[in-house]
Amino acid sequence: MAAQILFFALATAAIAGALGMLISRNPVNSALWLILNLFCIAGLYLTLNAEFIAVVQVLVYAGAIMVLFLFVLMLLNLAALPDLKKIDGRRVLAYVLSMGLLAMLSFVVASSLDMLPVPGSLEAVAENGSASNLAKSLFVQFAMPVEIIGILLLAATIGAVMLAKRKAV
């Protein structure tokens, strides 16, 4: 019973964070709502026995990436933001309904073609998300992609600095 209550609490808070991000007029409030959402997703990772991913989520996403967003938001003086267009409820409703219809039709097609995924159980697989277990595959089987992603991050850093640099005219 505790697991269900925990899931519902975290899921409700995560959805509240997402919706708060959508409807806040002030972008700084949007960023703070998104941080709430990211923390809730980290909690959900803990319920999925992925403790290392949860820690990385808090460090990288809620820490580094969101600090970057807030830094840029506060760097740019957005006091004179134009009013946001009011969200047209009919268009949102149309979008949600059409996505639901697409999901239902996909389900029907998949079930008729015998392509439904096997419903997996979520029994605790011990050691699945522990750091040592992940490191074994990350640095043995995926050593090359790790090097490549390092080069990608270096290139992105250099590119960001070059793009944001004030042009010396």
Binding site: A14, M21, L76, K85, P119, I149, L163
Partner: protein
């Protein structure tokens, strides 16, 4: 009523849809980038849920790579926003027409 895979997938679908709606309806470029981060997080949640359900850690390895690419994407996107703000003094995406003329 047990917490099963489908609960996580449903939550992930809701969060992804919220991200798509934010990307389509907000006009502030930074909030649009934040919506993209929300979509990426929904996908990460799906990956971790499947990884746990199948007992295979490779889904979580993929989450690492998604996070790294997301960090790179955020850095480049925000640098572009700063560069555009220097020229236009706005980050309302309806005000840009950089490919015209």
């Amino acid at each position: 009523m047990e917490v099963t895979l489908n609960w996580y997938l449903s939550l992930s679908a809701v969060l992804f849809t919220a991200g798509v709606i934010g990307f389509l309806f907000r006009r502030n470029a930074i909030v649009m980038l934040m919506s993209v981060e929300l979509m990426l997080n929904a996908v990460n949640l799906t990956l971790v849920a499947f990884s746990q359900s199948l007992g295979d850690p490779q889904g979580q390895i993929l989450v690492f790579f998604v996070m790294a690419v997301a960090a790179a994407e955020a850095a480049i996107g925000l640098a572009l926003v700063i560069a555009i703000f220097r020229n236009k003094t706005t980050i309302d995406v309806t005000e840009f027409n950089l490919f015209k003329y």
